[in-house]
Each structure stands twice: as C-alpha cells, then as structure tokens.
Symmetry: C2
Subunit: 700 residues, 2 copies
C-alpha cells in the first residue's frame, strides 16, 4: 500500500501556480532549482499574466487550462489568491499541494480563519496539503527541489540516507547546510510550516517506510497530536531508523518566544523529553549536535553496548574524553589483562588503563596506533573505540599508507563503532567514512555523538509495544465531592494503601476514633472548599492524648471558620500519626497533547527547588514504574540513608502502578491527581494525603 | 624590566642538542620547522656523531665546542644524556632550555628522581627550563617553531593576537589546529609538559605582559602552586587580556585517568571553578568552546553588558537561541517601542518581540536585515546583537554588495558585539572579521561564546584586589581539646552567635541550667572522641520538663558508655531547643593547592544529594559572602518559602565572614571547620553545632 504522502514526495507531473520567469525571485526559484537539478517528471507553470513560456516551461493562464495530467501543485501566488488556486487544483484532481505562500495563521486572526478555509478546501477535494507558509520539499534522488530556500543555490545536496524534516524552514535550511558542508548524503528535506494538514509527525512516518531514508533528523516547535507523533517515532524505531529530534522552547524565555511565533502552545518540555525517550528517539539540544549524531549514524554501525575504550596520543585529551564519557553515559571498563600484556610488549611506557595513553613512544612504530586499536577490539566487546590521532589525518601523503591496515581492521570487526579524532583532510575523511570509520575534529563532540548513538541503540532494543489507554468505563466511579477523604477513598479502591482514618463530626467521635487507633494521632480539617489546610489552621500533628485532642478539635474549627467562613466543613479527619520513612510525591497530569503523564519525585525541597522529578506516559508497566523510582537522584534515600533502614521501594512502585490504573480509568474526567506525601516505610508505605482535580468540563 | 621567560620565548641564538639531519625525525623536526619558517636568529646544532653540518647548520661535537654566544637550547637527546647536556648548557651560560625528551616523571619513580636532578642543575646555573617531556614553543611572529609537533607540517600559523599555553602537548596541538583551521591569528603556542620548572601559570603571566598577545587560551591538568596561578590570571585580567581556560579531570572517571597520567593530584573541580571565576577567567568545557570564545574575543569588542537582542529569519531558530541565552546568562529585554515602530514600518508582519522574527517579508527589501540591525543598535544599549542570516553569507556574489552597509553600521557602533549566524564563504568570513563582525555556523555555539565573553567582561569590571591571608598570630588561640563545646566557644570569640549552653557533669546541674534557660531544651553528649553523636545515642531533642531531662540524662550516659566505652566524656551540653528557621551549612576546607576555601549550602539533602553548594577563596569580603548566599538555589528558602516568614540573610552573611576570619587566623593549623547546622531565623541566627579538624601535623 502506498503511503498517503507518496505523491507529495514522489510526484510525476508538477505545476507551479504563480511561477515567475525570474529565477531569482521567490516565485521563480522552485522552478529554477528543480529544472537545474534535472527533475525528470513533467514540469509546468500557471501564470495569468505571462506572455511567453515561463523559464521555458509549458505555461497556462489558469489551472483549468492545463491540457495534461498533474498530480502535484506548488502554490506561490499571494495569500488572497491561494484559496482560489487551491479550488482549481481540486477541480483538476491534483492530489498533493504545497502552499509556500505566507500570511496566514502566523500573522493574524484573519489569517487563522483563511488557513482554516484552505484546509476545508483541501479536505473536500481529498488533497493533501503542505504548509501554508512553508519552505517546501527537496527530494534529492528524484531531483525535486521544490523550495525557495536560497541555500540550494549555494550548496547542492548529494544523495544519501539522511532525511530532514522541520517545522521551520529557516531551521531546516540551517540543518541542511550543515549536513551538506560535512558531506552527509541526503534523501529528502521537508519543512512543514504552519501545518494546517501535514505535520512533522506524518513526515517522520513517511520516512520510516521510505527506502531512500536510513536516518531521520527532525525539529518541532509544537505538537498538536501527541499520539500521531508517538506512532511515527515508534514506526521509525521499528523500521530500524534512528530519529534524532529537536524540540525548541525549553526555557521560560524560549516559551515566551514560541508563543509569539506560532499559534499553538508549547508543550511542557519534560513531557517531550519523556515521550521522545519512550518512543526510541534521541533529543538533540543543538543543530550541530543533531548533525554530529546523524553523521555518525549514517556512516557506521551503532555502538552495540554502552562500553567504550579510549586510545590516545595525549593523556590530557584522554582525561577530557573520559569526563565526557561519564556525562554521556558511556562506561570505560578497565583494560583486560590480555590486552594490557600485548600493548605493553609494543609500548613499554604506556599507562595500562582505559583511557590508554600511548605517549610519544607510539610515534616511530609502524602502524603503532592501529595495532593498539586492533588489540583492543580483539580483547574486548566494547561497542565504541575512540582514537585520538592528533593531526595525522590532516597530512594525506603520510596517512594514505595506513588505509589498507584500517580496511583490514574494519573487515575483521565490522560491527564496532570506531571513532577517530583529530583534524582531517577532506579526501582522507571521505575514504575513512566509506570504510565505516567516523572521524571528527572535536573530542568532546565525538564522545557526545557516540554516547547518543549508543543510547539510541539500547532504546531501540528495549522499546516496548505502545500502551494505550483503555476506553472502557471506570472500575470505580468518581464520588460526588472530591475532598481529601473521598479522594483517598477512591484511590484506596485502586489498591493504594491508606492509614486507618475516620471523619469525625464532633470531639466525642474523634476521641473514640483516636482511642481505637492509638495515640499519637494527626487531625485534618475535611472540606471540599479548602485546598491548603495548613494555611487556615486546619492541621494538627502529633496529638498525644485525649485532652490535647479536644483542645485541638475546638481550636481547629474556630481558626478555620474565622479564616474561611464560607467553607463547607464535612468534619475533622483523625488518623494515626505516621513518622519516619521517606516522603515521596506521585501524581498524574493530563497533558493536552500527550494525555495522562505520570510524575514522581521526592517530597519537599527536592521537588520544588531542585526539580528532581521524572515523568512517564500512562499507563505504567511495573518495569517503567521501577525506572521512574530509580531515575530520580533522591532514590539514594531508599537505600539506607546515613546508616538508616532501607525503605520499601516495591511499595512505591506498586502505588505508582495503582495510580496509573486510576488515571487511565478516569482519563476523560481528570485534569490531575496527586498523592503528596506518600510515606515509604521499611515495610510498605501509605498515602498520607491526596488531591484530585477535575477538568473544567467535568465540574458540575 | 624584562620578564624572566623573555629568553625562553624570544631567543637570539639557539642550539638544538641532539638535532638530527633527518627533517622528519623527532630530533630533526624542530630544526626543519624553524628553518622553514624563517627564524632570523642564529641557529646551530650539537651532534657528537654528525660528520657534516646537520640540515646545513653550523654543527658542533659538544656544547663546550660552540664558538659563539648562545642564549637558548633545545634538548632532544635520549633521557639518560639529558642531565649531561643540561650541565653543558649551564657551563656555556645558556639562560633558557627546552627539554623535549620524554622518559622522566611521567614513566617511573626513577624518572621522578632524574627529573629532580635536571631541576637542580637548572637552578644551580640560573637557567629556566621548559619540560621535560614537552612539545616545546611555537613563536609565530618571530618564526621560532621549536617543536616536534607534526601539525606544523600540515598547517602553518598566521600571526595574530591569540596565545595558547597547555600542559599537554597533544592537547595543545588539537587546540592549535582548530585555531588555524578557523583562521585565528596566533602569537605564541607553548606546551609545558612535566613542568619541573616552568608551569602554565608562569606562561600566562608572560603572555599577560607580552605585547604580541591579546587573548590567552590555557589548559591545565593539575596545579602545584595555586597562588602563582591566581596571580597570573589576575595579571592577565588587569592587562585587559581575557583568559579562557580548561581544567580537565572533572568526573570520578576523569580523575582516575588523571591520576595515572600525571604524578600530581587533580585538585577539587569546584575549587578550580571558583578560583577561575574569582580571578576573572572563563572556564571552557570543550576545546571547541574554548576556540569559539577565543575567536569572538580576538575579533570584536567584548559585550558591554549582559543584554542581547536577536534578529532572525527563522522563528524556530529565534526560540532556540533565546533558550541558549537563558542558559548562558544573557538577558533578552523587550524591544523598545521606538524600535518596534520603525521595524513595523519596514516589516508589517514581523512579531515585535525579542527575538525579532523578520519572516520572509524581509527577503525582497534592499538591505532589509541590515536596517533592522541598525534600528536595534540605535534604540537600545544591548551589548550583543545576534543576527541569523541563513545561508546568505555562503553566496559571495550576492553578499558582497552588503559589505559597505555593514561597514557603516560598524563605524557608527564600534563598541557593540555583533554576531552573524549562518554558513559562510571563507572570503566573506574574512572580510566580516576584519570589519569586526563575528560570523559562526551554529546558533547555539554562537550564543554560548558571546555569553562567555559578556561574563568575562563583567568579571573584569568587578575584579577585586586579591585578598591574601594575614601572617600574624591568631587573635584567639586554639583550645587544647576540640570537642563541640570548645569548637563553638572558639567560633563564638570570632563573633559567631551561639545559643546559651552549659556543659553539665551531672543531672542536678543540667536541671538547674534548663530551668534558667527555659524548657524545652536540647541535650548533647560532649566528648573529644565522639564525632557522630546521634549514632551513639548522644543527642536528646525537645526535652520538655525536669522529669524528661533526668530520664534523658541517665539514658544518654548509659547508651554512650555501652556504644563507645573508651570515649572520654566531658559532660552533657544543655541548650535551649531552637526550631523553625532554615538550616544551612557553612565550612572551610584547606585545599592543598589553593589554601582555605569557604563552602556554603543548605543543610540536609540539598547539600548531600544535590550538591547545592558554593565555594569562595578565604578571606571573604561582605560582598563575596553575599554572593555565596545568593548563588545557591536554596536561597529561595530565605525569601518567604510557601508563605512563611523571611529569614535573616544578613545574619548568615555575617557568620560566613566571621568563619572566614577564623579560617585565616588558623590557616596554618586547621584542615577544615564546619558549622552544621547554622540556623537562620527571621531575626538573627545561631550556630547549633560545629566541628574543627586539625591538620595531621598540628595534632599533638
């Protein structure tokens, strides 16, 4: 079955509507670039005012005048005429339309309405539409350079396995130029602009099944359909095509800029991090980092594990690279004894460690560093070997003699990621890349790129089937009023452990409850109208006996009534006082793009000051809940902090899974829910407080 | 007065001892490179076995045979012959010697001893020595290419203002190659190797007064003399020469590698961060980052403030750059109304914000983006303006016409840092750089580099005179025994506020003390032998009345005696129970390289789990103590956390200054001291516990 974007990327007959005879103008460039590149399909122009063929192509007054089949249109007429042109395309039976024209949702309210009209026209005629306000498509192997990006005039792409899809055209042009400058072969480049119809996710999905594309680079500014993005990323991972993706808008300032740039809300940054990782993609933080990783992925085998070795001509650079390895998640296992012995025979003064500093002794030995690299490969299963070769590859005359030795190493070890580091001559670099050796100038960037590739490989290997929320009715219905007691009651029905508690309407009942539970107890006001109990005097902790309880009961009611006279009070909750243990916080938040997202962290300043929290898409598996608990830095507190007892991590994992079940059951109704704190104890744990927020539409 | 390294860098007559006639060999390269470069001083060779002049130079059998004056020697003979050659240099009256030969402290214990012998010989003859095991010196303007680095054969340096000094030769070669590849002009390059005599600090000090050098890049692996490094960095800052410095060995793995690589201990990474910042230098994290910043510093004026504007052809890249600005400490003020009005007249659809997205409308307007940049410069005082120009500078034919407009902008605004972003043609880049415009490919790297330059400028402006420790006798002597009570007593004499407390030898005295202080009280065992009181049952908190006190007293003594029977017990300390407030930790640690370093952070998990601490060299000024308190993330807890009261920040600042005075007074004797916790209250604060550790040599 053909992908629905096939005609968008692989057209056979293309009309440029509004095409100009001046090859340098916006409306002339797509024609000029596509013709110069040598596109083999039919190419024609619609231009109402043209007296002669535009740029030598068949030229028509209107779409309706075209006398031959057309499957793809590029619209470059001014904004007020786009809708009319689109209708004409529909009448003609064209299936794919790119609207390069700007002046729609990105400029005004009227523009938003007009863009909606374009989408309606496209849908009505069964056309797929790219844009408006987009830079268009560059097909490299089919020479379909349908863009007005001037970068094409400066740098022509060579065919290869890298596909680039970005929302912003200028962002794409920047990535594209970097790819070309470093000689990465390209399959397709596409910028989606205002995304009225086709978005970045759908283009990733196309590239996932596109035989021309082996590696995908993507950049998004916003996302309107989280599940489509998830499916596309998983499709790429399943097809063995690594995705390196950027999402801009990570800081407060950045988010403000994103709000003025597009009409859509920038999603929560941590949520994007989470979703990308869950779907097997790698999030790059700079365009250059994205291209570093892409070039490594296009050239060589992915690292097969997280272990790495470093061979260096400079101890200092070895240390630097070891530091970056630690940050990039690459392990440096010690040099095995067998390897050390062999290297020692060759280089008696080298420090037998990983990093292995060959020192200047290696200099006079024929193929010295190559022999050391071979020894490392033979004696270890390390996925990546880094070799700092100083400026050796910058001197072609000297270096060429070592190419055959390297070819043998590659032949004997085809599945290792081997990264040479140092400045290089262009010809030497190309030879090395063809042999499957990566060579990069900067040691830190090389390690970061290889670390990302290793992570991509491991994410691909552990990628689970997507969990989707069930659409069945909730197992336990929402209560009418969502105060603390009923929130806890509902969560309790999902299995979340609660301390005994009783809502007491008078002091007598409270005394009886406390007596049966045992002192000390905690007391809390129960009211659907009070969110922050402490601030209105609605909490008493460590209440030690009956007198203290009666006293606390009376004072609590009087303080709450004077602080918030209109609040409905259901009573006072009495519960045994729980102490010791570690307080954690767990919650679920409904993300407008990605649905219910689970949150977990340590209670108190760890969450609020240090943002030591982690996220995962709901529903959780036991495995993903365990990963959450282990991935916050404060998980150290579970393992016997300062000589104290170990806390029951399993109880926390269980509670997270139960909260996830609750969240999926009530995904339609709930904006968020939070257990804060959940007290983890040496044996088990308890939800001490809980809040459930409904979506505005659910509140009656 | 001439700098003592003058002859090392500016020799007039040079002998290569052990020089080889083969220009490709280690011993032949310094001769070959220096001759090819066109060094104008005398050049000669000592080679006992040479039958004819080596590489056409005057050649002697021994140093003693040389018949003319010599002021500089390059030693390349094998290690066992170096000492002998050095003695001969001394006899000849040579003042500067580079020992390129390896096989000394970096390989073995014997090598360490032999290196000590070399230093002794050099000192005895009043010679300065570079190395051993070093890559040597490259003087660019005097064409003194005294190195065996093959990189010189691949890339010849052009003269300019950047000086590079590194400990590791291969590290230096990598930095050097990058500098040359991006066309940065160089003054001098030097690698110090084993640093028996001359270290990186002294080379920085030389470059600080060297008229050829305007910007300094440095890389160290270890530092043996902290004050020399401090003085050198301050000398460079005072001379208006920015220093960009790397210190490798930042992670545990990295430190392990550093330990095998050099004989010296890697200093604490946070301490280096602190010292670099205090001395006006910028610490770079990758070689490439170092070169990015250096190229920006060499080209243009330093940003005069932390404000920046972004002009972009891509909204997405504007967002990306805004994000990086936030991380790099650059502020993006809103576009002033006057500027917005003028831009609006030019570009009606542009989003009037900072970043300013010009959109595709700017395309057809002659000098569109240049006019927007000029408007920004005229209506703001922003130190830096970033302009994303896509691939415009990659097309020389089109771009050249805009050079005169840019020249006018530069003439009218000579003191602004203007950074263009996008791929560029080499010729265009050179023209722009000559005009004082920076142009870089990657937007993120450009922002990081400009942010660093802005920080360097502000550090230079606020650089204080160095505070040095006084050498006078301590104002308050150390007590004989350093248990908690006497440690607090001593700190109290420096003004640090303490709660009333009394060491009580029996329960009766304790009851009397508590009665006069008022209940509740805290009780703690007092013993010079017990460091962790809680673990032996030596702490009782919140003791509410006489009965509870008697009970606690008896139980504490019995528990401590059974846990640690041999401990000397001075009594039980009774003090009023202090609650509320924010617990902070402050301390001083004697760093073997940099002397007493002050530490400050929030108590509890914030310090131990999140390392939310900050350091500063002692002695502190009030200003530097304030910076410490403000720079930890947990300082938010002082400003009314969750609606609570504000805490007294001044009391914490005062205590830090007092602890600093104490630390300077006792710098000779003390390994470390710590107040943990210091309780900050809404009014004032108290030291609740303190520890003082003596240096091993001080413990009697």
């Amino acid at each position: 079955m053909r992908h629905s974007l096939e005609v968008m990327f692989e057209p056979t007959a293309v009309v440029v509507i509004g095409g100009s005879s001046e090859p340098d103008k916006l409306g002339g460039r797509p024609i000029h670039y596509t013709r110069s590149a040598g596109f083999e399909g039919d190419l024609m122009v619609v231009n109402a005012r043209a007296k002669e063929p535009v740029q030598g192509l068949p030229t028509f007054k209107s779409v309706d005048d075209i006398d031959r089949p057309v499957d793809h249109a590029i619209i470059v007429v001014p904004a007020p005429h786009v809708a009319e042109a689109l209708e004409a395309c529909g009448r003609k039976g064209i299936k794919a339309v790119q609207v390069l024209t700007s002046g729609f949702a990105e400029v005004s309210e009227d523009g938003i309405a007009e863009q909606g009209r374009l989408l309606e026209i496209a849908r009505r005629h069964g056309m797929r539409m790219l844009g408006p306000n987009c830079l268009g498509i560059v097909g490299v192997h089919n020479r379909f350079h349908a863009t007005f990006a001037t970068v094409l005039a400066a740098f022509l792409p060579t065919p290869g396995g890298l596909g680039i899809v970005t929302q912003s055209g200028a962002f794409g042009a920047c990535a594209y130029t970097m790819a070309i400058q470093r000689g990465i072969g390209l399959s397709r480049i596409v910028a989606t602009g205002n995304e009225a119809d086709i978005d970045v996710a759908e283009c990733i999905d196309f590239m996932a099944q596109d035989p021309r594309t082996r590696v995908i680079c993507a950049a998004i500014e916003s996302c309107r359909d989280g599940d489509r993005l998830r499916r596309a990323l998983r499709a790429a991972a399943a097809a063995g095509k690594p995705v390196v993706i950027m999402k801009v808008g990570v800081s407060a300032i950045g988010a403000a800029a994103a709000a003025t740039h597009t009409g859509s809300l920038a999603g929560d940054d941590a949520v994007f991090d989470t979703v990308f990782a869950e779907c097997g993609a790698w999030r790059a933080r700079t365009i250059e980092e994205m291209m570093d990783i892409a070039s490594l992925l296009v050239i060589g085998p992915l690292p097969r594990n997280q272990s790495a070795g470093i061979v260096t001509l400079s101890g200092g650079l070895g240390v630097l690279m070891a530091d970056v390895c630690a940050h990039a998640g690459l392990e440096l296992p010690p040099l095995p004894a067998g390897a050390a012995e062999r290297v020692k025979a060759l280089l008696p003064f080298a420090a037998m460690a990983n990093p292995l500093d060959m020192t200047a002794q290696a200099e006079p030995i024929p193929n010295g560093w190559q022999r050391v690299v071979r020894t490392m490969l033979e004696h270890t299963d390390w996925g990546t070997v880094f070799v700092y070769i100083a400026a050796k590859a910058a001197a072609p005359a000297r270096f060429e003699s070592s190419l055959p030795v390297l070819a043998e190493i590659r032949r004997d070890h085809p599945d290792r990621c081997i990264v040479l580091i140092g400045p290089s001559d262009t010809g030497i670099r190309q030879s090395l890349e063809q042999m499957g050796f990566v060579i990069m100038d900067d040691p830190s960037r090389a390690v970061v790129a290889a670390g990302a590739a290793a992570k991509l490989a491991s994410r691909r290997a552990t990628l689970n089937a997507a969990h989707t929320a069930t659409a069945t009715a909730p197992r336990h219905a929402l209560p009418a009023v969502l105060d603390e007691a009923s929130a806890k009651g509902l969560l309790g029905r999902y299995g979340i452990p609660l301390l005994p508690e009783q809502v007491c309407v008078d002091a007598e009942t409270a005394v009886a409850a406390a007596t049966s539970m045992g002192y000390p107890v905690a007391m809390k006001i129960v009211s659907p109208d009070i969110l922050h109990k402490t601030e209105v005097g609605g909490v008493a902790l460590n209440v030690r006996d009956e007198n203290a309880l009666r006293d606390a009961f009376a004072r609590m009611l009087s303080r709450v009534r004077s602080a918030q006279p209109e609040a409905r009070i259901s009573g006072v909750l009495v519960t045994p006082m729980a102490t010791g243990g570690v307080e954690v916080i767990m919650g679920v938040q409904h993300d407008p793009v990605f649905g219910p997202m689970m949150m977990y962290g340590l209670g108190g300043v760890a969450v609020e000051l240090f943002k030591d929290v982690t996220f995962a898409s709901a529903p959780l598996t036991r495995g993903s809940a365990q990963v959450m608990v282990d991935s916050v830095r404060s998980s150290a507190l579970f393992d016997g902090w300062r000589g104290g007892p170990r806390m029951d991590k399993d109880a926390v994992v269980d509670a997270l899974c139960m909260l996830s079940e609750f969240a999926i059951d009530h995904a339609q109704a709930i904006a968020g829910a939070e257990i804060n704190p959940f007290l983890a104890l040496p044996n088990g744990g308890f939800c001490l407080d809980a809040l459930i927020h409904l979506k505005p539409s659910t509140v009656s």
